[in-house]
């Protein structure tokens, strides 16, 4: 019977096209809203994770104590073996070295003497290896105001504001003057490859981003790094998983007596993130509930309308001697088919748009040109597992419910009346 009905739906455009379109649009909107909401709610979380906390973060005990001050003298030594170990122990996570540092950025005049200088906060991340995810995490391509992303050692990005203040452009050289891990003077020349605006207060005032190996050379941290950040491969923070990773890591590596033993902290335990996560989950949940409810009502209505549209047909079918129950059952089955087709195509469309919005994002920065806040100027959607099924709630269930309710009419009225009402 399904095959027969499917044939009917496919051939009889008048009874299928509009409902399928409506269900598709509805499911697509639901999926889109779900992803958008997750994206927006998680935006500052994602930004925090990407720039600061990772999903989990490994530091030495001593470094963790005063991590705000970027105490690289307390950095993790033997970092490469630690990262290798982490990679083999937790292969489903991406482990990256990071160094944060303070220093002085110094632009030379033609004689190589100081023309201008200023304090900076630096981020050293893996910019250059072919498989690096870090450029995406730092949203570098989208944040570029001028120039290109670093492509070779010695390239650096500087915040656009800094570039304007010091009147420099891509191609200009500068010297980073800082402190090596053991307290010595650190010097290294860099070339500005591009200027960036991250849309964040902290970064845009005076930040530079350089490759991790450049920083390791410059700061005499050859086999050291301040922090190792771990990210789940799907880019989403999963507290349960993070908790178990932290626990197993703790068993293997923790040494309370050693100040320089590594310690792992999950995102939720860093700087007040816990409340934020709980809050945004609750708020997001409420919003999605309202939305799915609204969509369900609309599609329920669509189901009703779809049934009503076909009273004429039911009248004829009943007149031809078809059993009421059979008419009703076919109506429900059709509802299921239309709901399923609509939900599938709608979910696909919704996911497509969401994916686009996740990758490209929506730039709302035009109205906030000189923004100085730790706020992203590009808002992105986030595709979660729920996005794959949430469209079916209104799409399938509501459609069928609507059809079922409208079909009740078949039982209520007798054949003659139906027939007459529709005046065939």
């Amino acid at each position: 019977m399904i095959g027969f009905l499917l044939k009917g739906i496919l051939n009889d455009k008048s009874r299928s096209v509009l409902p399928v379109i409506v269900v598709s649009i509805g499911a697509a909107l639901t999926v889109l809203l779900n992803c958008w909401l997750k994206g927006v709610m998680g935006e500052s979380l994602v930004m925090n994770a990407n720039f600061n906390t990772g999903h989990v973060k490994v530091m030495t005990h001593a470094y963790a104590q005063e991590s705000e001050q970027m105490p690289n003298d307390l950095a993790i030594l033997g970092i490469d073996s630690l990262v290798t170990q982490l990679k083999s122990e937790y292969p489903d996570m991406d482990w990256v070295k990071r160094i944060r540092f303070g220093g002085l950025i110094d632009f030379p005049d033609e004689k190589g003497e100081t023309r201008a200088q200023g304090p900076i906060v630096g981020w050293a991340i893996d910019l250059l290896s072919s498989s690096t995810e870090e450029t995406r995490r730092f949203n570098i391509r989208e944040s570029l105001v001028s120039g290109v992303p670093p492509a070779k050692p010695g390239d650096a990005l500087i915040s656009h504001e800094l570039a304007e203040k010091f009147k420099v452009n891509p191609g200009h050289k500068f010297t980073l003057f800082g402190t090596t891990m053991d307290g010595g003077m650190a010097f290294r020349n860099f070339t500005v490859s591009g200027t960036v605006r991250f849309g964040s207060f902290v970064l845009d005032r005076g930040a530079i981003v350089i490759d991790i190996s450049d920083a390791q050379h410059a700061l005499a941290m050859e086999d050291a790094a301040g922090e190792v950040l771990g990210f789940f491969h799907d880019g989403k923070y999963d507290d349960k998983q993070a908790t178990s990773v932290v626990a197993t890591f703790g068993v293997k590596h923790s040494d309370k007596a050693d100040e320089f033993a590594p310690v792992m902290i999950k995102l939720k335990d860093q700087g007040g993130m816990a409340e934020y996560i709980d809050y945004s989950e609750t708020m997001g949940g409420i919003m999605i509930f309202v939305f799915v409810l609204a969509m369900s009502i609309v599609l329920w209505n669509a189901g009703l309308l779809g049934g009503l549209r076909r009273y004429k047909e039911f009248g004829i079918r009943l007149a031809l001697g078809e059993d009421k129950k059979h008419v009703y059952t076919t109506l429900i089955y059709e509802g299921i088919l239309i709901g399923a087709i609509g939900s599938i195509s709608g979910t696909a469309i919704g996911l497509g748009i969401s994916y686009y919005l996740q990758v490209v994002g929506l730039d709302i920065s035009s109205s906030m040109k000189n923004s100085s806040l730790m706020m992203p100027s590009v808002v992105r959607a986030a595709i979660t597992p729920a996005a794959f099924y949430i469209g079916f709630i209104p799409g399938l269930f509501s459609m069928v419910l609507g059809n079922a309710l409208s079909g009740v009419g078949i039982y209520k009225r007798n054949t003659a009346q139906l027939f007459k009402e529709l005046e065939v």
């Binding site: 509805g26 609309v298 923004s371 806040l373």
Partner: protein, 389 residues
């Protein structure tokens, strides 16, 4: 008028179908009002708190002061004289002197900023009177964020080291006499507030200030050599953060509204399909096509009127309750550097509600009109026969 009556009668007559559409549209209406109310409330609260705790109604800055560049602090101080002095005496402005320092809680070193403020000032809500009421040699008040970061509590002493105007080191134990709880992080993080006179004496900057906070806007007053920064300038970022929030929320309620409109659209398509004979009859009776089109458009947009009514029915109590109770916010939300209280009192302005109403009515009129355009192309005879597919 007739078309209105007709429209409502037809709608109510459609029963469940109408009410489903109306319910959804009313959701959209209430959610939009709620969201905007929340953001406006937040904005208002943040602005008020910042004004009360930090910026007053404007500030007078020393020429070289830049609030975002800590390296300007060293040279940003100047004498208070002439007119400004009389303004201080009249309580119209209150001076604040700022210097960088190091604090040594438990052998660690923290870079901090010390701010001198008149304990008797009445312009900012900082509990400066506790600086006056103490017999402590060098009392300080700090915010809750600073207290937790430096692990300090009331009564604790902490050594601070600073330099006077000549660069000579000085160091003293400072006593925390009070810890204040403010929503404004920018007067809290990394800061000690001490009595202005002490500060001037400690730094040798007699009768000097870095900036002055004003009680009233000082738009046309000569304040040279100080530079007047009005409220608008000082609050520039609030506009930006709200713009950003509103931007992304527009998408959310835009989607919700489009769902509701989708329902109306679907209903309209069906009614025009089902009621061909009625349309034909209207035309046969002498109504012009555009008049009929109007009837159907009005009927569709009447959804929005019902939705407004329904929305008001449950929305007003809910929103009023939220206004009374406030909307709880997470504590770490102020990481962005903007003031946020533990709960936000949403603010529903007349203009905002009105523009939401217009948005809902106009958008539903448009989606009602779109399918009804078909009517203008209808052949009345075919319509009467019900033969249009």
């Amino acid at each position: 008028m007739l078309s209105m009556q007709l429209a409502f009668r037809n709608l109510i007559g459609a029963g469940l179908r109408t009410w489903l559409n109306v319910t959804v549209l009313s959701f959209a209406f209430v959610v939009i009002v709620f969201y905007n109310g929340m953001l406006d409330g937040w904005n208002m609260q943040a602005i008020n708190d910042t004004r009360d705790w930090e910026i007053g109604k404007g500030q007078l800055w020393h020429a070289s002061y830049d609030r975002y560049d800590p390296f300007t602090i060293q040279d940003s101080h100047g004498g208070i004289s002439g007119h400004i002095r009389s303004m201080v005496a009249a309580g119209r402005v209150t001076p604040i002197l700022i210097t960088q320092a190091s604090a040594y809680p438990a052998g660690r070193m923290l870079n901090v900023v010390i701010k001198g403020i008149d304990p008797d000032q009445r312009i900012l809500e900082l509990p400066t009177q506790s600086l006056a009421q103490t017999t402590n040699e060098l009392p300080a008040i700090i915010g809750k964020r600073m207290a937790s970061r430096a692990h300090l509590k009331k009564g604790d002493q902490v050594l601070i080291r600073w330099r006077d105007k000549n660069g000579t080191f000085d160091a003293r134990e400072i006593t925390i006499v009070s810890i204040f709880d403010s929503n404004v992080p920018t007067i809290d993080n990394g800061q000690f507030w001490i009595p202005l006179a002490k500060m001037q004496q400690m730094t040798g900057m007699t009768n000097e200030a870095t900036l002055l906070v004003s009680r009233e806007p000082l738009n046309n007053e000569a304040v040279e050599p100080w530079i007047y920064k009005d409220e608008k300038y000082l609050l520039k970022e609030f506009g930006e953060i709200m713009q950003q929030k509103k931007g992304s929320n527009k998408i959310i309620y835009g989607l919700l509204l489009s769902i509701a409109l989708l329902g109306i659209f679907d209903s309209q398509v069906l009614s025009i399909f089902r009621r061909q004979k009625e349309i034909g009859t209207y035309i046969a009776l002498g109504m012009t096509r555009s008049q009929v089109l109007k009837v159907f458009t009005v009927e569709g947009s009447a959804h929005s009127i019902l939705a407004l009514g329904l929305g008001a029915l449950y929305g007003i109590p809910v929103l009023a309750y939220l206004h009374q109770r406030g909307i709880p916010m997470p504590k770490s939300a102020d990481d962005a550097g903007i003031a946020i209280s533990e709960s936000i009192i949403p603010l529903y302005s007349f203009g905002m509600v009105l523009s939401t109403i217009l948005l809902v009515v106009i958008s539903s009129t448009i989606v009602s009109y779109l399918p009804a355009r078909k009517i203008s192309r209808m052949n009345p005879t075919d319509a009467l026969k019900g033969k249009i597919q």
